[in-house]
Symmetry: C2
């Protein structure tokens, strides 16, 4: 660690969330360049970090495209002057007054829907309020969440209902949920190609039926680096690549050394009967995410590095309580307690970066290269 940062690092009480800024910057640049080289725009998902601290790097211009998972994120970004957003969770009536306020501030916020009920509700609200809200239809490219199937005849019905109604239809959005289960580069390329194909076809069908479809939005971090042709796709959304995590390393879209977020914890005990090192970071700091449990390498509740970020082999967080993490050997490997003195610090890498950051109000951002330390606060709630 840069000596000028050691003081800040040492003074912080554990557990705390550490972001390795140079790693984060490299992740941002890598995905940005990959998508732009194929002629599409990247619309980063803000849900992974939810901090205005990252905005200058992730969203260099005020009209940089951004995806949000909550109106709270949209409202915070609007304060900084950002204007080009998609709210990528199905809309309900109760949220429209806040959407309206954002539109009145000049934010181009598109909402998402996938049913006639929502389309009628949105048209009705727009008529009553004499405004026009932009929206996208969610298309289900692989059966993994919401969205209308590409062959569902309701798709055209909903699009026409919006196109002819008081709302403003802007296009289609799909998310390759299945790609999170991929484990080979070939499977990733297939998932990526399927996403492109479905979105492109649906947009074409709508255009042919007389419904203009200027936005064709696809994306997921697993597929973000596996596109070969983005013809007909206007933008790609991805989020977790900002920090990357063990699930993404397991899928094969990053190396463990690319992971830019970790929780710093202190060793508070040794359980020699169980062979556990006990640290002061439980699920309250790490989250309960077990995303690697279905992968070839189950990382428990996270893998462990020393304070310099060097991976400690054959050790994972095998169990967690609220404020306790139990580190044990992987596949029965023995723990050498002398490697983990009581009072020493360890870093725990996330299974899922979005879930780990969600447990922290503040992120402690260290830049070893420039010797700077920053505290970024998280946008909370909905």
């Amino acid at each position: 660690m840069n000596p000028s940062l050691s003081n800040a690092y040492d003074q912080l009480d554990t557990p705390f969330l550490l972001i390795d800024k140079p790693k984060m910057m490299a992740n941002i640049q890598r995905v940005q360049e990959s998508i732009e080289s194929l002629g599409a725009k990247l619309r980063p998902h803000f849900k992974t970090t939810r901090t205005l601290g990252v905005a200058p790097y992730l969203l260099p211009q005020l009209d940089s495209p951004v995806t949000v998972s909550t109106l709270a994120e949209a409202e915070a970004l609007a304060i900084l002057g950002y204007t080009n957003m998609i709210y990528a969770v199905g809309i309900s009536l109760g949220k429209l007054p806040r959407v309206k306020q954002l539109l009145e501030k000049g934010v181009r916020l598109r909402v998402l829907l996938d049913s006639l009920e929502q389309a009628a509700m949105l048209n009705g609200y727009c008529s009553e309020n004499q405004n026009s809200m932009s929206c996208l239809i969610e298309v289900n490219c692989d059966g993994h969440r919401g969205g209308l199937s590409p062959n569902d005849e309701k798709l055209l019905e909903v699009a026409q209902c919006l196109h002819l109604g008081a709302a403003h239809f802007e296009g289609v959005l799909t998310h390759a949920g299945e790609s999170y289960e991929c484990s080979t580069q070939e499977a990733l390329r297939e998932a990526a190609a399927n996403e492109v194909l479905v979105a492109r076809q649906v947009a074409k069908q709508l255009e042919q039926a007389g419904v203009p479809c200027p936005i064709v939005s696809i994306g997921s971090t697993p597929t973000a680096l596996s596109y070969t042709d983005l013809t007909g796709i206007t933008e790609v959304r991805a989020g977790v690549y900002t920090l990357f995590d063990l699930v993404m390393a397991g899928i094969g879209v990053c190396q463990i050394s690319d992971i830019a977020a970790s929780v710093v914890a202190t060793v508070i005990g040794h359980n020699s009967e169980q062979g556990w090192v006990i640290v002061d970071a439980g699920w309250m700091a790490l989250s309960s995410d077990r995303g690697t449990s279905t992968q070839a390498n189950d990382c428990g509740y996270g893998l462990v590095t020393d304070r310099n970020g060097t991976l400690i082999e054959n050790v994972s967080v095998v169990n967690v309580n609220q404020e306790h993490g139990m580190l044990g050997g992987i596949n029965g490997a023995a723990i050498d307690f002398q490697q983990f003195p009581i009072g020493s610090r360890l870093h725990i890498l996330p299974n899922h970066a979005c879930a780990m950051t969600a447990m922290h109000q503040y992120y402690h951002v260290f830049d070893d290269a420039s010797g700077t330390y920053e505290v970024w606060s998280r946008i909370q709630g909905w």
Copy 2:
């Protein structure tokens, strides 16, 4: 719902955390009375709720015993004037300045440890700062977390090191971690009796060796209602009983209808291919806790009630993304979409109440009986 509360309920944006105050009050009273009827004190664990809103009910006097899982909780309670605390996570050097500040404010805060290294560190800090910090030794009654084994000769060594050193040794603490895996009343009674036996014996051994042991602290919510004799035990700690949850219902210490916390969500879609109802509450609102996964009745990421709190049979949250929850039939039961109109509201019960509340900055507290609505804010961080 009390008509005077409907307006507040309807105006809140989903997802939000709802606390049913009369249920919470009944849970608090039930456990309090049970422990006091056996002649011990209850030292409620504040970690489940972490809100000063609950303090008047959970801690009626300023010297009411309380357990905290973070110094942040202790500091917040100290502002209200509470003075009688145990910080029940193993102590490390970095945290002692904040402990010292609390002691200087008149808070009797005991710290916890289970090693000679920590005992020497604490004695050293007390000597240097010319003060005396109270502490307890954690004893491992069933191998499930930290703590020294009752037969470990280090136990007396650590106690004597503290007793003779600058720190102030006050007693022993144990936690029946194994009780969370119980599924019968008999198993609970055994776990409870084992906890009592271990703590009582250890305290006796220390006293016989000339180390006074005025605090003998045991507890867990599963065992809290299964003690028959608390002779020799000065206090019982428990937390999750305040709100109860599906894990506790699975263990058999409460009914599902006793659960006082839920997340209110809106139906935002139907996935007819998968048979899913999609709501706007994912792991960000519910947590990723899968505590019922190893129980006889796996509740997925939570069970579902209607807006009046009536359980909807054979439905659970089968999957979650960050802001999406997928409701499906249990054991292949079909979903009747007409029962879940788009735009309608549902309540999702927690697997683990501590984990669900941890995802929320504010709790919305409804009292149907008195017609009152309050907002309680959560103490955040460490």
